[in-house]
């Protein structure tokens, strides 16, 4: 019987079905375990809300530190959810099947990263205007903050995927992941939080947002391949 299926090997036509498969499956799984997502989002909201309580209700000070606090909380929320990206698939054998699929591994991983962003980064960015109000960030600043988070959070998911794949199967993988990935998040943090500062200083956020956009493009092209290489190493 089975002649090798006239196969979905490494031609470009197999990329989109691969992305679609991983995206659809991971979204389905995420929606089936909504509680976990809710907890992560709540974590983000609580961390952001702690700072005004612990520091000062002084409007100017809050407006200055608000964007930075939101960004740090977004980093932590992203970090908290990263182990979910590959660890469960690794434990139950799905990752082996994914790596042996005729679809290109970077395509499948891109789909997983996209699903990760849709379930963690996107809600974080969409909640930002609401949380920014607590810090008396003015409306233009809120807009720029949200735009920066929309551009920046996918970079967090993409870079995080590399770290999650590299720490697969390691004991204390979670804490190692934080050490490995947080320094890589620093440029995103600087340009992202800096965007609102530039607006406040009257410089406009174009430069910061362009840099974030460029970073996103570079990460979107490179990260799936790096993560794919790391996954193959983890399976060996």
């Amino acid at each position: 019987m089975p002649s090798a299926p006239a196969s979905a090997t490494l031609d470009a036509g197999a990329v989109l079905p691969g992305v679609r498969w991983a995206l659809a499956r991971d979204m389905k799984l995420a929606l089936r375990s909504r509680a976990e997502l809710g907890v992560q989002l709540l974590f983000y909201v609580i961390v952001v809300s702690l700072f005004p309580l612990a520091t000062t209700p002084e409007r100017n000070l809050l407006a200055t530190m608000g964007p930075g606090v939101l960004w740090v909380a977004a980093l932590l929320a992203s970090l908290l959810s990263l182990p979910r990206l590959f660890a469960a698939d690794h434990a139950d054998g799905t990752l082996e099947q994914i790596a042996l699929s005729p679809y290109p591994l970077p395509a499948l991983i891109s789909g997983k990263i996209l699903a990760h962003w849709l379930t963690t980064g996107l809600p974080v960015a969409l909640l930002a205007p609401l949380l920014g109000l607590q810090y008396a960030v003015e409306s233009e600043g809120l807009l720029v903050l949200t735009a920066a988070l929309l551009l920046g959070t996918p970079i967090l998911s993409l870079l995080g995927a590399i770290g999650a794949a590299l720490t697969l199967g390691l004991r204390a993988g979670g804490s190692l992941l934080a050490l490995l990935i947080l320094p890589l998040y620093v440029p995103v943090l600087i340009f992202g939080a800096g965007a609102v500062d530039s607006v406040r200083a009257g410089l406009g956020a174009t430069a910061n947002l362009s840099l974030l956009g460029a970073g996103l493009l570079v990460a979107a092209v490179g990260a799936p391949f790096a993560a794919a290489a790391a996954v193959r190493i983890a399976l060996d």
């Binding site: 019987m1 089975p2 002649s3 090798a4 299926p5 196969s7 979905a8 090997t9 490494l10 197999a14 079905p17 498969w21 499956r25 389905k28 799984l29 089936r32 375990s33 434990a91 139950d92 054998g93 799905t94 082996e96 099947q97 994914i98 790596a99 042996l100 699929s101 005729p102 679809y103 591994l105 193959r232 399976l235 060996d236």
Partner: protein, 204 residues
């Protein structure tokens, strides 16, 4: 045709095996036996293209294949220790997802038919979380039949299967071989396959 030439494997400082050569032709199964820790799983993962051998070569239909080679990936169905099921998904959704991942179409009737064939008709809409180990294994068997792959790699396929399940596995493998497929299986349970089709390899 699967050919292994002078294969060697090492895990840490331990040499598992070396100088391993064999050939499996269409319609044949290679049954790998050996005590625990002699490298059966390692060998199977190398053949599947998941691990790189220390030295030696694996050839599929005459061409040497490296780990994760696209030709090899398009030709093999690997059933390892873990059945790759998601607890949150139903038996039907799990099977459909795995078949689609293998690049095969997964229409509903085909999925249901395959689940019927492994006696999981009533468990079709149950989440995999509540299925027994044997039932999870049966989903794995259904996946093999739908994979459309010529080379089946089975690591301890009998684990957790009851007598009826083992008989079912034997029938599926026999059908697969009869239609020109190949298989490599690590198992100590005789599947009662015709002797002409069985090649044996004992690791020590």
């Amino acid at each position: 045709m699967l050919e292994i030439h002078d294969l060697a494997a090492r895990r840490g400082n331990t040499r598992l095996f070396a100088g391993l050569s064999f050939k499996v032709e269409a319609g044949q199964v290679l049954v790998v036996t050996g005590a625990n820790g002699t490298g059966k799983t390692t060998l199977l993962r190398m053949v599947a293209g998941l691990s790189a051998p220390e030295s030696g070569e694996i050839r599929w239909n005459g061409t040497a294949v490296a780990p994760f080679d696209p030709t090899l990936r398009a030709a093999t169905a690997f059933a390892g220790h873990h059945p790759a099921l998601k607890d949150e998904l139903t038996a039907e959704e799990n099977l459909a997802a795995l078949v689609e991942l293998a690049g095969e179409p997964a229409p509903r009737e085909k999925i249901r038919g395959a689940l019927d064939a492994v006696s999981l008709t009533r468990q079709r809409t149950l989440p995999a979380r509540v299925l027994s180990q044997g039932q999870r294994r049966r989903i794995g068997l259904a996946r093999l039949t739908l994979s459309g792959r010529p080379l089946w790699i089975l690591d301890e396929p009998v684990t957790a299967l009851d007598a009826a399940g083992t008989a079912l596995l034997a029938t599926l493998v026999a059908d697969h071989l009869a239609s020109g497929g190949l298989a490599v299986a690590a198992t100590h349970t005789s599947l009662g396959l015709p002797e002409a089709r069985v090649r044996s390899l004992a690791l020590a």
